[in-house]
């Protein structure tokens, strides 16, 4: 069979992902994580003096949850079930770093853990910094440097 024809057939015969099921699961899981985050945030609003500090405390708490669930081997199962619903929230970011740390710890502290810690999270940080820089530039161009 001609390779081009074969590639066509592979595409035609590929199992179709169940988009409705996957999207529903992602919505439910992501929604649940966000809901927990909201509760945590409401709690910190009561005890923290400013909104900014409540946000920071909430993020730190959610990252902690993500890290603990990863360490206990639960978070990857959530991801298997809920896909992007587990990956997008900040708990997913925590998962990407802790899972890397767990895997590469065996390869040494310098050559493994600390150098490979960002192997998954790296792009997220790079793009966040780059986009933040561009948005900051635009903001100061339109609103003035110290607005």
């Amino acid at each position: 069979m001609d390779p081009k024809r074969y590639r066509q057939l592979v595409q035609e015969r590929a199992p179709k992902p169940n988009v409705v099921r996957d999207a529903t699961r992602a919505f439910l899981l992501g929604g649940c994580i966000a809901l927990i985050g909201q509760f945590v945030f409401d709690y910190f609003r009561l005890i923290e003096p400013t909104r900014g500090e409540a946000v920071a405390a909430t993020l730190a708490t959610m990252i902690f949850f993500g890290a603990v669930l990863t360490a206990f081997g639960v978070y990857d199962k959530l991801g298997e079930w809920g896909g992007a619903g587990a990956a997008i929230p900040i708990t997913g970011f925590a998962n990407s770093m802790v899972s890397s740390a767990m895997d590469f710890r065996r390869d040494g502290i310098i050559t493994g853990l600390t150098s490979k810690l960002f192997v998954i999270a790296g792009p997220v940080i790079v793009f966040a910094v780059v986009v933040g820089f561009i948005v900051g530039l635009l903001r100061s161009a339109f609103l003035g440097l110290f607005a």
Partner: protein
């Protein structure tokens, strides 16, 4: 040197196939992880470890443990010591076939490390048979191993990362198999081999290696049938390595396109090793997949005379993570080996 002065190779059949005389699988042993042990073939394996890490600190060491156990078990079953073995041929999926090299260090047997990805066992069977049939060895131990965690680490993502597996993803088998090839003994004979050539139909999705490997399996099958003048009916079983559910579908399609109906004669080690409840995606894969399934279930069923003549076609995707991330396609290979009672 002109062709006339060289005696022609007398053990070749057709263009690609080699006829093998008097080589047997005299002993064999399989050691697998808990997931494989809990699968449909669980009872056929010699040893099922309850811990996939086998109490080792790293998955790489764990994989080494599995291979060493398998080799030791073969030696023990055969009642032989390492210095009675002429060669150790073995391979695995890790960089520089490191599992096999470390294992070879333990035994002091002249060693060749082989890499044909998941088709490594096919390469070991082929080269081992040729060495014995050529009169260069009396006894050879061949082996292959893979480990879910060490393979994930090298080829994919950290174990605990939240990735959703695709339906075409395969699950790397944790385990190892080893066999003693010899002139004597009572095990099934290896009567022919058709070495594979690298086939690349331009697929680059490493989440669907079954579809990438199917053309290599079909290529080897067609060359084997054409060389030998045999048909599918001459075999009780044609067992491919780790095409999995998706790759098997494409393999059958390719065979059908060439005018061959495989029907129930074809099975796939990747499909056999796990049940659907174990959610392995499209099935098992890894160098240990075809190795452990052939060396346990398939050859045992031959000895039970359920199958008398089997064509085994271990399949391998030869890409590496670097070339894959550079967008290159997946070169694939499949070796065919005929087992007879």
């Amino acid at each position: 040197m002109s062709a006339a002065t060289v005696a022609p190779a007398t053990k070749r059949v057709g263009k690609y196939t080699l006829a093998i005389d008097q080589v047997r699988i005299a002993q064999r042993a399989t050691v697998v992880g808990p997931r494989e042990g809990a699968g449909p073939l669980g009872k056929w394996f010699d040893q099922v470890e309850q811990d996939h890490m086998a109490e080792q600190p790293t998955p790489e060491k764990a994989e080494r443990y599995f291979l060493k156990q398998a080799v030791q078990l073969v030696l023990k079953k055969a009642g032989l010591s390492p210095d009675e073995i002429d060669f150790f041929l073995s391979g695995d999926l890790l960089n520089q076939v490191i599992t096999s090299s470390f294992t070879a260090r333990e035994f002091g047997i002249p060693f060749f490390g082989l890499f044909n990805a998941c088709a490594t066992f096919g390469a070991a069977l082929t080269l081992g048979s040729v060495l014995i049939d050529g009169g260069y060895a009396n006894r050879i131990i061949i082996g292959a191993s893979s480990h879910y965690q060490s393979a994930e680490r090298q080829y994919r993502y950290p174990i605990e990362l939240n990735v959703q597996r695709k339906a075409t993803n395969q699950w790397t088998v944790t385990g190892a198999g080893a066999a003693l090839l010899a002139r004597d003994g009572s095990g099934p004979r290896i009567t022919m081999v058709t070495p594979g050539r690298v086939v690349d139909y331009g697929l680059s999705d490493t989440n669907d290696m079954g579809s990438a490997m199917a053309p290599a399996a079909a290529d080897t099958l067609l060359r084997h049938l054409s060389d030998t003048g045999r048909s599918i009916g001459d075999y009780d079983l044609i067992v491919t390595g780790d095409l999995s559910a998706q790759g098997s579908k494409m393999f059958r399609l390719l065979a059908k396109d060439a005018g061959i109906t495989l029907g129930n004669t074809h099975q796939d080690c990747g499909v056999l090793i796990y049940s659907q409840e174990q959610q392995p995606g499209a099935g098992g894969s890894g160098a240990a997949c075809s190795t452990t399934v052939i060396l346990s279930y398939i050859l045992s069923e031959m000895e039970n005379t359920r199958y008398r003549r089997v064509l085994a076609i271990p399949t391998g995707a030869l890409h590496n993570p670097l070339t894959a991330s550079q967008g290159e396609t997946i070169p694939c290979i499949a070796h065919a080996v005929v087992f007879e009672l």
